[in-house]
C-alpha cells in the first residue's frame, strides 16, 4: 500500500473534527444568505434616499418659483390699489370743485333771478296799460319759492363742508405724483425679488444636497440651470383698437353717396392690470366701504330732491284757484324746474370723474413697465376660434355703427323731406326707410372690415391660446407649462450616500452611482375654476382678461411634484443633466426611450 493510500485511509478512519467542517460550511452558507438579504435591503434604502434628495430639491425650487410669483401678484395688486387711489384722489378733488362751483353758481343765479323778478315786478306795477295780475302772481310765486330754495342752500353747503372735511386729510396726505413714485418703487421691489429668486433656488438645492449627501442638479425643461419665477417685465402694453373710418353708401332710389361713419373698437388699456384695476376702483367707489364718499354725495342729492319736493308743493295751486290764474302757477313751476336747482348731480358727477380718470390712469399704467406672467404676449386668434371671434366682433361693430348713424341719417332725411314739402308722417316713414337702408348697409360693410382685421391681428393673451378647442378648454398649454413653470431635478449618490453592499465578489453588485429625478412645477389651482377667474373663452371678440398675476386669484401659486413629462426635453437641452445620466450608467439617453421609461 502506498504512503498516500495509508494517509487517506487514516483520514477516512479518523472522524475527529467532522462536525466542525459541517459547521463551517453551514456558517458560510448562512453568511452568504445574510449578505444576500442585507444587499437586497441596502439598495432600496439608498434608492429611496436619493429619490428623496431629488424630490426635495425639486419641491424646494418650485416653492421659490411659486413664492416669487405670489409676491409679484400681490405687489401687482398694490400697484393697482395705488392707481385706484390716484383715481379716487383726482375724482374727489374734481367732484368737490364741481359741487362747490355748482352750488355757488346756483346761488348767484337765484340772486340774479330775484333781482330780475324785482325789476319785472316794478315794470308790471308801472305798466300804463294796467297791472298784469297773472304775471304778478307768477312773480310772487317764483320769488317766494326761490327765497325758500335759497334758505335750503346752507344744508347743501353743510354737506359739502362735511365732504371736504372728510377728504381733506387724504387729499393733503399725498399727491398723484407721489402715488406714481410709489408705484415705481413697488416695481423696483418686484425686480429685486425676481433677481433674488435664482440664488434662493440654488441655496435650496445646496441645502438638499448637503442634507442627503448627494450631488443635485436643477434645470428648467429648456435645459437652463438658471431657475427663476415665471415672470417678465414689459413696457407699453396698451392695445390699440381696430379702426375703420367709414364707408360711402349709395342712397336707395338715388344717386347720392352717403357717408356712414365708422369708429374704433377693441382698445384695451393696460390689459394685464385692467381686470383688477376696474374691480378695485369699483370697490373703492362702492358704498359698502365705511369711508365711502357715496353716502355723503347721496345725502347732498337727497337734499336737492327735498328742494324739488318743496318746489312742487309750493307751486301746487290750492283747490278752487281761479282758472285764469292757473297758468301763473304752472309757468312758475316750469320756469323754476328749468333752473334744475333740484337736480341730483353729486353722485353722478363723482362717477363721471371716476370713469374719466380711470381711463387716463389706466392708460398711464399701460405705458409704464410692469411685471406680467412669462407667457403673456400678443398672439393671433387661434384658427378654431376665428369664426366665433368674427361673429362676435361683427355683431358688436354692426350694432354700434347702426345705432350711431341711424339717428343722424334719419334727421337729415326728415329735414330734407320736410323742406321739400312732405307731410310730417310721410316724412317720418320715408326717413325711417331711407336711414334704415343706408345705416344697415354701411354698418354691415364696416363690421365686415373691422371683423376681418380683428381676426387677423394679434391680441393680448396671458397664456397662449390653445390650438385645439378641447381639451383643455382651461389651463396652460403643456408646452408653456414646461417652458416657464416646470423644473427638473436630478440627484446622484456620492461615496457618502452610495449603497455599501457586502460580499461584492460573491454577488453581482451595482457599482455605478444611483440616480433619481423629479419634476416639479409652480401651478395655480384656480386655473380650472371659473369662480376664481378662470374660464377663458377664446372665441369671443375680446381676449380673455388676464388674472393670473394681477388679481387676488393670482396669488395662489403653489409648488407641486408633477409627472416628469418634460424630462426627455430637458435631457436633450442640458449637457449637465445628460452627464448625470451617463454617470449612472445610461450612456446614451434617448429622449423617446427616457420618456417611455419615466414612471413618476
Amino acid at each position: 500500500m502506498s504512503t498516500a493510500c495509508r494517509i487517506l485511509r487514516m483520514v477516512h478512519r479518523d472522524d475527529r473534527g467532522a462536525l466542525s467542517v459541517l459547521l463551517l460550511l453551514t456558517l458560510l452558507a448562512l453568511v452568504a444568505l445574510i449578505g444576500l438579504v442585507y444587499n437586497a435591503g441596502e439598495y432600496p434604502v439608498r434608492r429611496r434616499h436619493v429619490q428623496a434628495a431629488a424630490d426635495a430639491s425639486a419641491q424646494g425650487a418650485a416653492l421659490w418659483m411659486a413664492r416669487t410669483t405670489n409676491i409679484i401678484a400681490a405687489t401687482n395688486m398694490l400697484i393697482v390699489e395705488n392707481a385706484s387711489a390716484e383715481v379716487i384722489w383726482k375724482s374727489t378733488r374734481d367732484t368737490i370743485a364741481a359741487i362747490s362751483a355748482r352750488l355757488a353758481g346756483e346761488i348767484r343765479r337765484i340772486t340774479r333771478e330775484l333781482e330780475r323778478i324785482e325789476r319785472q315786478r316794478q315794470r308790471n306795477d308801472s305798466n300804463p296799460r294796467g297791472r298784469d295780475e297773472v304775471l304778478a302772481l307768477k312773480l310772487d310765486l317764483k320769488e317766494a319759492v326761490l327765497r325758500e330754495v335759497l334758505m335750503m342752500y346752507p344744508a347743501q353747503q353743510g354737506i359739502l363742508a362735511e365732504l371736504i372735511a372728510r377728504t381733506a386729510p387724504g387729499l393733503a396726505a399725498t399727491t398723484p405724483a407721489e402715488l406714481r413714485q410709489r408705484r415705481a418703487d413697488i416695481y423696483e421691489y418686484q425686480a429685486e425679488v425676481l433677481r433674488q429668486t435664482p440664488p434662493a433656488v440654488d441655496a435650496e438645492r445646496q441645502a438638499a444636497a448637503g442634507y442627503y449627501r448627494c450631488q443635485t442638479l436643477i434645470v428648467t425643461a429648456g435645459g437652463s440651470e438658471y431657475v427663476g419665477a415665471p415672470v417678465k417685465s414689459v413696457d407699453d402694453v396698451n392695445v390699440e383698437g381696430v379702426h375703420v373710418s367709414g364707408v360711402s353708401v349709395q342712397e336707395p332710389d338715388g344717386q347720392r353717396m352717403i357717408w356712414v361713419t365708422g369708429g374704433t373698437w377693441g382698445e384695451i388699456l393696460c390689459p394685464p392690470l385692467a381686470r383688477f384695476f376696474y374691480d378695485r376702483v369699483r370697490r373703492d367707489v362702492g358704498d359698502d366701504r365705511p369711508d365711502s364718499l357715496i353716502p355723503i354725495l347721496r345725502a347732498l342729492d337727497d337734499e336737492r330732491q327735498h328742494v324739488g319736493d318743496m318746489i312742487r308743493a309750493m307751486l301746487s295751486p290750492p283747490p278752487g284757484t281761479d282758472p285764469q290764474f292757473l297758468r301763473a302757477w304752472s309757468e312758475a313751476l316750469s320756469e323754476i324746474l328749468d333752473m334744475r336747482l333740484h337736480e341730483r348731480f353729486a353722485e353722478a358727477t363723482f362717477r363721471r370723474y371716476v370713469a374719466a380718470h380711470s381711463a387716463s390712469v389706466l392708460r398711464q399704467l399701460g405705458n409704464t413697465p410692469q411685471h406680467v406672467l412669462a407667457t403673456y404676449g400678443r398672439y393671433h386668434v387661434p384658427e378654431w376660434a376665428r369664426d366665433g371671434v368674427y361673429r362676435d366682433a361683427y355683431d358688436h361693430v354692426y350694432r354700434d355703427v347702426y345705432g350711431r348713424n341711424y339717428e343722424r341719417l334719419w334727421r337729415r332725411r326728415y329735414n330734407e323731406l320736410r323742406r321739400g314739402g312732405m307731410s310730417d308722417s310721410d316724412a317720418r316713414r320715408e326717413a325711417d326707410r331711407w336711414a334704415r337702408a343706408i345705416a344697415s348697409e354701411g354698418a354691415a360693410r364696416i363690421a365686415e372690415q373691422a371683423a376681418t382685421i380683428w381676426i387677423h391681428r394679434t391680441w393680448p393673451y396671458e397664456i397662449r391660446p390653445p390650438q385645439q378647442p378641447v381639451p383643455p378648454p382651461r389651463g396652460l398649454p403643456a408646452d408653456q407649462r414646461h417652458e416657464y413653470f416646470t423644473l427638473i431635478s436630478a440627484a446622484m449618490t456620492t461615496s457618502a450616500s452610495a449603497p455599501q453592499p457586502v460580499l461584492t465578489r460573491l454577488m453581482d453588485s451595482l457599482q455605478t452611482p444611483m440616480l433619481a429625478t423629479a419634476q416639479a412645477e409652480a401651478f395655480n389651482w384656480m386655473e380650472y375654476h371659473g369662480a376664481y377667474g378662470a374660464g377663458d373663452r377664446y372665441d369671443r371678440r375680446m381676449p380673455p382678461r388676464p388674472w393670473r398675476l394681477s388679481t387676488r386669484g393670482g396669488w395662489n401659486w403653489q409648488p407641486r411634484l408633477a409627472f416628469s413629462d418634460a424630462l426627455g426635453k430637458a435631457l436633450e437641452s442640458s449637457e449637465m443633466l445628460r452627464a448625470y445620466f451617463e454617470g449612472a450608467g445610461m450612456t446614451s439617453p434617448q429622449r423617446e426611450s427616457v420618456e417611455y421609461l419615466i414612471m413618476h
Binding site: 448562512l30 409627472f563 434617448q590 421609461l597
Partner: protein
C-alpha cells in the same frame, strides 16, 4: 486465515452463546462506521432544514424587493395619479420586480420588449433574459391604491398595495409553504403571494379646489 482466527477467538470468549447472538453482540460492540450511519440518517433532515433556511432567505429577499416595488409604485402614484397616468403605477411595480422574476414560459409581451428596448437605447446593460422576466412580472404583479379622483383632490396620502406571485424554487422546502402546483406566465411550480403596502404623499391635483380653511380670494 484471519477469519478462522476471529471465529475461534470469539467462540472461546463467549462459550455457549449462539452464533447470531455473537454477531449482534459483536456489531454492537464495534463502533466503526457509526459516523457514516448517523450522517446518512441525519443528512436528509439537515438538508431539509438547510433548504428551508435557503427558501426563507430567498423569501425574505423577495419580500424586501416587493416592498421596494411597493415604494416605487407609491412614488409613481404620488405624481402619476394626480396627473392622470394611473397605468404607470403598475408599470413601476413590474419594473422593480422584473429582476426578482423567473423567465416566463410564454412569448415576451410587447410592453416587456419595449421596456428592454428603451433601457438598451439609453445605454443600460440589459440582461438578455430581462424581457422574459418582465413578462413574468407582468403576469405575477397586481397593484391597487386607495382613493380616487386624484386630479381634483388636494395632496393627500395614497396607499399602494402590491401583490406578487413569487416562485418557490427550493425543492422540498417549497412543499411546506405552498401545497399545490400551478402555473404563472408559463412557469410551472409552487408559488406564494407576497403583499407589500407603501404610502406616499400624493401631489396636489392641478384641478383641486380650495379647502374650506380660507384660501385667499
Amino acid at each position: 486465515m484471519s477469519a478462522q482466527r476471529e471465529t475461534s477467538s470469539t467462540r472461546s470468549r463467549w462459550p455457549g452463546v449462539c452464533p447470531a447472538g455473537r454477531l449482534l453482540w459483536r456489531a454492537l460492540a464495534d463502533d466503526r462506521g457509526a459516523v457514516a450511519v448517523s450522517f446518512i440518517l441525519t443528512f436528509p433532515i439537515f438538508l431539509l432544514i438547510a433548504a428551508i433556511i435557503v427558501q426563507y432567505a430567498l423569501l425574505l429577499n423577495a419580500r424586501l424587493v416587493v416592498e421596494h416595488a411597493a415604494q416605487t409604485a407609491a412614488r409613481a402614484a404620488a405624481t402619476a395619479l394626480p396627473d392622470e397616468r394611473p397605468e404607470l403605477v403598475l408599470r413601476a411595480a413590474r419594473t422593480a420586480l422584473a429582476p426578482l422574476s423567473p423567465r416566463a414560459g410564454v412569448a415576451p409581451e410587447a410592453e416587456a420588449l419595449r421596456t428592454a428596448e428603451a433601457l438598451a437605447d439609453c445605454g443600460v446593460n440589459v440582461a438578455e433574459s430581462f424581457a422574459d422576466r418582465y413578462t413574468y412580472a407582468m403576469a405575477a404583479t397586481r397593484a391597487a391604491w386607495s382613493g380616487g379622483g386624484w386630479p381634483n383632490r388636494a395632496g393627500r396620502e395614497v396607499e399602494v398595495t402590491v401583490r406578487y406571485r413569487f416562485l418557490l424554487t427550493v425543492p422540498g422546502a417549497s412543499r411546506l409553504i405552498s401545497a399545490g402546483r400551478t402555473s404563472v406566465a408559463g412557469v410551472e411550480g409552487r408559488f406564494t403571494t407576497l403583499v407589500a403596502t407603501a404610502r406616499a404623499q400624493a401631489s396636489h391635483g392641478r384641478k383641486a379646489a380650495a379647502d374650506s380653511s380660507g384660501w385667499p380670494w
